[in-house]
Symmetry: C2
Subunit: 341 residues, 2 copies
Amino acid sequence: MNDTPLFLRACRREPTERTPVWLMRQAGRYLPEYKAVRAKVDFLTLCRTPELACEVTLQPLRRFPLDAAILFSDLLVPLEAMGATVTFPEEGGPAIADGVKTPADVDRLRTPPAAEALPYVAESVKLLCAELKVPLIGFAGAPFTLASYLIEGGTSRNFTKTKKFLYQHPEAAERLFDKLATMVADLLNLQAASGCRALQIFDSWAGALDPDDYARWGEAWTRRIVDAVRPAGVPVIVFAKGTGTYLEKPAATGADVLGIDWTLPLDRARAIVGPGQALQGNLDPVRLLGPWEPLREAIDRVVAAAGGDGHVFNLGHGILPETPIDNVARLVDRVHERSAR
Amino acid sequence: MNDTPLFLRACRREPTERTPVWLMRQAGRYLPEYKAVRAKVDFLTLCRTPELACEVTLQPLRRFPLDAAILFSDLLVPLEAMGATVTFPEEGGPAIADGVKTPADVDRLRTPPAAEALPYVAESVKLLCAELKVPLIGFAGAPFTLASYLIEGGTSRNFTKTKKFLYQHPEAAERLFDKLATMVADLLNLQAASGCRALQIFDSWAGALDPDDYARWGEAWTRRIVDAVRPAGVPVIVFAKGTGTYLEKPAATGADVLGIDWTLPLDRARAIVGPGQALQGNLDPVRLLGPWEPLREAIDRVVAAAGGDGHVFNLGHGILPETPIDNVARLVDRVHERSAR
């Protein structure tokens, strides 16, 4: 046995005795103990209160033998620090009333030092690291995904306003992405300096872009962030959802680990990116809502397609609020059992 | 010059002097003359009234030298004939209040002969064929996409209810897809018999499925429909949006033409499917909202990646209501000019 945690070895493509597993949004609404905390505080208060963020981060680890924890927070937290007003209504996605509608709006956004603007992030990470027996993952959003929230004013189906802004105001968009990349890199470095042992960059809506737009607005800016956090010395995971038809581009960001959604089998992903990067994924989270037998078959297919070392088992997107807890427990056990070398 | 229309030659991979172009939703809300018609009648009345459906189908042809027309109708029209109550609110997508929530709901759906249940479809096609100088395309939805409207009760973001139904009730889902495939094949055959010279099967939400689910719920049922309309002797276009990471599966439906969305460059699509099928696509429709210069560059990239014969220029999804008409005019001209052999 090696002293380095399983998850970190898999991120670095070192040999592992079995495949590590964690789940995007593993702390969240499918857990009654999470809902009990949320019944007392609103979502942003939860993100901003280290004791509470720490508590909900630990909740899934108490139930399941997961191989990593991920800091409880939200992609939009740095946008608040930049001067946007973010709200999380109980129904529907987040809303930003004073986002970016014109180039002049870009110039109003600030990039304060993360340690000053988001002190609770460092504090949460430190509290968690004192408790955790597995590595803690820090995270932030990629500039395109964050820009889409600012420009659309919330979630979107077609990202029409965002792409139109990129086409009509490319220079203002460069300024916006520069600010976002600066803020995000600083936040990720703060997380690593506070104790996070891996960092994930979420480009959740990258798949809306065609390959040329992704090269300019996804890959280039994500690479800048990867470069900026490289001195922290922790593995960087890039999850650019929906980019399976041009996976060589997220791979070219220099990520140590590439997150893969459920539309691209992991053996195909491996054939595209070669042996140099670990892969993370890629079960469709909706499968967890169905019966065990087809779920088990789908888990086994993911484990088989990944082929062993250099794989971090995960979902292809966040776990859904209506997920039965029993299926999560069985999934974690099945991955461990099935992937034993 | 060959007497066979350019569009049909491209569908059959025969030599063409330039690339034909049509646009998904080319009759629609970006045209003031369409909005003028809609100001007088509701959406379903428009679909059901041959003179009006004919008028709006012809509107874009009067403005632009398009190489094909597509019957004005809606994917959900056959669901009405099957007994579902479909409404189209002015805001938001279509709604089906009495769709499929349980296996028993499947058994209530009927599959009446299209000629009896949807007589206005045949009448519209006949009226149009008397007027048109270019081929008319008929169309219908693939079973997965239609099932998703029935099960979700409308449009959806994650297709959670639909996929859950497939996992929990696979036998009822097979019965549902069997009814949908029967109805759709009958409708497409009616369109061809009435004068349509090509047929397109839209699997708009196929990209929500992982490759295994698409093989069972997309590819297999679409192939059955392609086989059922084969005797009509017209080219069949299969557009399974979002399936670029497993394009060999929609290709295996036996389609003559594969619709490709904007996430997969056409030269890559060609490398996957080989020389046997024509390709249709694949400009991101949001590009039409931006300025001309980057739009022109994107059009030229699509034409170049397609490589000439066996390409039908189109968007990667329907044209957006806010599209400037001038950009559409310039796009059609640019494709014709740029692709001249």
